[in-house]
């Protein structure tokens, strides 16, 4: 169980852990916007900032080794597909395009891993509630509970997928030809796992008389959080301004 560490919360007490979750979301959105601006200097800056943030949050790359392998493989696929797709525009452009898209993919994944590693589901609950509350006609409390519960279930299901893969491998049924059968042989155990997970979670929540409208962590604005966020966004802002004017 829990061999896959991705999108799990890693408890800790670093500055990043204690940062107001609203600022974490802001940072994440800022970084993604910078990545979609698409200059290589931005990529480099985000890579450096993420490295700093990961070190300050005391996250060891060891615990992500296996997942990183999977993502490197996906990045490789993205690289090759974009490389061949833009090959007619010249070898060098194609190489550049592929490298950038693969790099960007890894950075976005890293960002997601880091965010979930330092944000408790209850904090996310509070943020989603805070974001959706002003919109009329949207049941904010319910959707917030829904979002944080999904984040609880995602890593469990990913573990499940991993288990199913291993079980199939060990039984040698990975080479079935019939596509419908093949598809079903993965989906059936996955659905089984999901239903089990849902039942367990529902029972656990009911027995603790869980109430969707109760927030378990409150948001407090602190000046130091704003300063910290600004510190991590400033290099990107400066880069953007430099690119616009020079």
């Amino acid at each position: 169980m829990a061999e896959i560490a991705i999108l799990h919360y890693h408890p800790g007490s670093s500055a990043l852990h204690r940062l107001d979750p609203r600022f974490k979301v802001l940072l994440m959105l800022g970084y993604i916007a910078a990545l979609f601006a698409g200059y290589w200097m931005h990529y480099l800056a985000v890579t450096l900032l993420l490295t700093t943030a990961s070190i300050s949050a005391k996250l060891h790359p060891h615990s992500f080794k296996r997942e990183l392998k999977v993502f490197l493989f996906l990045a490789l696929i993205i690289f090759t597909s974009h490389f061949f797709a833009s090959l007619q525009r010249g070898y060098e452009t194609a190489l550049q395009e592929g490298l950038f898209l693969g790099w960007r993919f890894m950075l976005i994944v890293w960002l997601g891993i880091l965010f979930t590693a330092v944000t408790e589901p209850s904090e996310l609950h509070a943020v989603v509630y805070w974001l959706l509350r002003p919109i009329p006609g949207v049941p904010a409390g319910r959707l917030a509970a829904h979002a944080s519960l999904s984040l609880v279930i995602i890593p469990l299901l990913l573990d499940g997928v991993h288990e199913i893969r291993e079980a199939r491998k060990s039984r040698g049924i990975d080479h079935c030809r019939n596509p419908v059968k093949r598809f079903r042989s993965i989906m059936n155990p996955l659905m089984e796992k999901l239903l089990m997970q849902m039942e367990e979670l529902a029972l656990a929540l009911e027995s603790r008389s869980f109430d969707e409208s109760v927030l378990h962590s409150s948001l407090h604005f602190r000046m130091q959080d704003a300063v910290y966020t600004l510190l991590f966004l400033l290099p990107l802002l400066v880069l953007q301004i430099v690119y616009i004017y020079f």
Partner: protein
């Protein structure tokens, strides 16, 4: 219906749709995704109302930047990119699929009719995704109609037919258990209301 169980079920299917991102193969501008399979499945099993909130929260988490979109990416920029239409289209698709597929639950239909209805529902949902996704792709990339269909629809039709068949089979074998999961709650809440 008990709110808590409905929320848990919706959260479970949101997680399932997000997991679909990690079982996908990126090829060309539009990756082959399992997400639409799970989206249709959630509509089939949960009905349009709960499935809609499932898909909404999935899109919301993606917009916040969590890596839940195809190929393990995320970010609000996706909605404005060439494949944004496919994501937005999930919302009307679950409403349509859920609405058509859950009709036999209310009236007594023969098995043949309900099979027919479920297939129609799945086809309608898939069609809805294409009807919004392909024009979006065309306008976002300034392709011709022919090129947009060639890149955004034609390569996936076979895969989508396979997905429809499997979604139908899985939907049938698990619908009673999902109903039980939700129904149990219904009985409980009616007891608590009467006391």
């Amino acid at each position: 219906m008990n709110n808590l169980r409905a929320t848990v079920a919706a959260a479970g299917f949101t997680a399932l749709i997000a997991i679909g991102a990690y079982i996908s193969i990126p090829v060309g501008p539009v990756p082959i995704v399992l997400q639409n399979f799970f989206v249709l499945l959630s509509a089939l099993l949960l009905g349009s109302k709960i499935a809609l909130s499932s898909v909404f929260v999935y899109l919301f988490l993606g917009a916040l930047g969590l890596p839940v979109f195809a190929g393990g990416t995320g970010g609000i920029g996706h909605f404005f990119g060439p494949t944004g239409g496919y994501l937005i289209a999930y919302l009307p698709a679950v409403v349509i699929t859920g609405f058509i597929a859950r009709r036999p639950k209310r009236r007594t239909f023969s098995t043949l009719n309900s099979v027919f209805l479920q297939f129609t529902a799945l086809l309608a949902g898939t069609l809805c995704i294409y009807l919004i996704g392909v024009p979006w792709l065309k306008y976002a990339t300034q392709m011709s109609w022919k090129a947009a269909i060639g890149a955004g629809a034609a390569p996936f039709i076979l895969g989508d037919l396979l997905k429809i068949v499997v979604a139908f089979i899985i939907g049938r074998s698990f619908s009673s258990r999902v109903d039980e999961f939700l129904q149990l709650a219904f009985q409980k809440s009616s007891i608590s209301e009467s006391t």
